[in-house]
């Protein structure tokens, strides 16, 4: 009992992050802190997103995603002070957790962000939101809003954003209640169009796979 108050491992790990003197040291310290999975680590992990150290930011992002919902509020509060790079990492965290509170940010980022890897992450996040967080009356309007967004991102100039859009359309299809046939048909039509019209083999193939998964039948052109 007494040892717990003297040696608090989280504080030690936090201290190690703050005292790291080189990039590899920082990466090790952040990885350990992230793996510890303590909510007390959240402020420090959030800080690391702003350090301009990609390795450490990846570790912090993964740690925050694993911590889940409890990371959302503090992260939303930090956004205003963030520079572009840190915001991009934050978007990845929001996308990974899929929290509804970040919905507007994800929609806006998926369509407008200047970096393709951030658009990619946001687009992917839109397909895997925590639907149970929504009151049932709001689910279908939100899903319609997301479908409208994905029908924009599916035209992105970068193949990888289009790829992420297909993955999200597939996930959205699975999430939409079968009574909303109109929305489901719209997704299916879009996927059928992509497998014949997109110039990239990778996109056509992912479209086929999505159709296969939602229809659970083979697709031949």
């Amino acid at each position: 009992m007494t040892t717990e108050t003297i040696i608090n491992p989280v504080n030690q790990l936090i201290l190690a992050v703050e005292k790291a003197e080189s990039a590899p040291q920082l990466l090790d310290a952040v990885t350990e802190l992230a793996n510890f999975q303590s909510p007390e680590a959240i402020p420090t992990l959030i800080q690391v997103l702003g350090y301009n150290n990609p390795g450490a930011a990846v570790a912090a992002t993964e740690g925050l995603i694993a911590l889940g919902e409890c990371a959302i509020e503090p992260l939303l509060r930090s956004l205003d002070q963030y520079n572009y790079g840190a915001r991009a990492w934050a978007v990845r965290v929001f996308a990974g957790i899929g929290d509804i509170r970040a919905l507007d940010l994800l929609i806006n980022t998926a369509i407008n962000d200047f970096s393709l890897s951030v658009r990619r992450a946001a687009t992917k996040g839109l397909g895997s939101l925590q639907w149970h967080q929504l009151p049932s009356a709001k689910i279908i309007t939100t899903q319609t809003q997301i479908l409208d967004t994905l029908l924009i991102t599916i035209n992105d100039g970068e193949w990888v954003v289009r790829y992420a859009s297909i993955v999200s359309l597939e996930n959205l299809y699975q999430a939409i209640d079968i009574s909303h046939e109109y929305l489901l048909n719209k997704i299916e039509e879009k996927l059928k169009q992509i497998i014949t019209e997109d110039v990239e083999i990778a996109i056509q193939s992912r479209g086929k796979l999505a159709l296969k998964k939602i229809d659970n039948k083979e697709y031949l052109i």
Binding site: P54, S117, V167
Partner: protein
């Protein structure tokens, strides 16, 4: 303010053909390639620029020729083939390198023998010679742009260059060794060469891991998928490499039907998004 928008193909060509402002010419050559201006006049102007004598670097090099060669690689105009081959005679290492890269992109078989000739003196009794190993005295480069030459020979499917390429797998410059492994795989489809690149994904330096990723994507070595997924590098690059694998696999799939291998590749890609 974006200069890329304010410039037009006509302006770029005029800039390239004037002689007063060397900086403008240099930029124009790059621009015509970047925006793939494939008109006859653009191609002809760039071909002329391959013989430029005005624009000289402090080391005696020809910066405009380098840019013009790079641009011509992107324009798919086979009239550039012979002039690019002639660049191999240039004293400037970087002009020869750019020309080899451009010829790789143009994929014209006339480049094959001249590329092989650049490997003269590099291999003796199946071993690399000092000529292939030692840098030019006082310079950061070797006698020939081996990485570019070997990659071009691999892309051009020059099977009779196998014995010349293979010794380069042991070259101490990692990127040259990777280029050799990549070309050997393209020429033989033997896994042992793909696996050399897979081991390179474990390398210490991020730059080299990235390079191996791009090589694996370019040769479509499907068995590297898991290793790519786990490599320590940016997901953006891993996705590009995986896309290369997927394209390769889909082309081999029968009857337009997705194979389980293709589906496996996409499952890995989904996790990288």
């Amino acid at each position: 303010m974006n200069t890329e928008i304010s410039i037009t193909p006509e302006i770029a060509i005029a800039n390239l053909n004037q002689k007063e402002d060397l900086g403008l010419r240099y930029y124009a050559a790059w621009w015509l390639g970047k925006f793939r201006i494939k008109t006859a006049i653009a191609v002809e102007s760039l071909i002329n620029a391959l013989e430029d004598k005005e624009d000289r670097a402090p080391d005696g090099g020809f910066p405009l020729r380098r840019n013009a060669a790079k641009a011509l690689g992107k324009l798919d105009d086979l009239r550039a083939v012979e002039p690019l081959i002639k660049c191999f005679e240039c004293d400037d290492y970087y002009v020869r390198e750019s020309a080899a890269q451009a010829l790789e992109m143009l994929k014209d078989s006339r480049a094959i023998q001249p590329l092989i000739n650049l490997l003269d003196n590099a291999v003796k009794d199946d071993q690399l010679t000092n000529y292939a190993l030692d840098p030019v005295i006082g310079k950061p480069y070797l006698n020939q742009p081996y990485e570019a030459i070997i990659e071009a020979l691999g892309t051009l499917q020059v099977k009779n260059a196998l014995n010349l390429i293979k010794p380069f797998i042991k070259h101490p410059t990692p990127k040259i060794a990777y280029a050799a492994a990549r070309a050997m795989y393209q020429l033989t489809h033997e896994d042992v060469y793909g696996e050399i690149l897979v081991s390179a994904l474990q390398g210490e330096e991020l730059q080299l891991r990235r390079s191996a990723l791009m090589d694996l994507g370019a040769i479509g070595y499907v068995k590297s998928a898991e290793a790519i997924g786990e490599a320590l590098a940016e997901n953006s690059l891993k996705l590009i490499a995986m896309k290369g694998l997927l394209e390769y696999q889909v082309k081999r799939d029968q009857d337009n039907e997705l194979s389980t291998d293709s589906i496996k590749l996409m499952n890995i890609m989904d996790k990288l998004l």
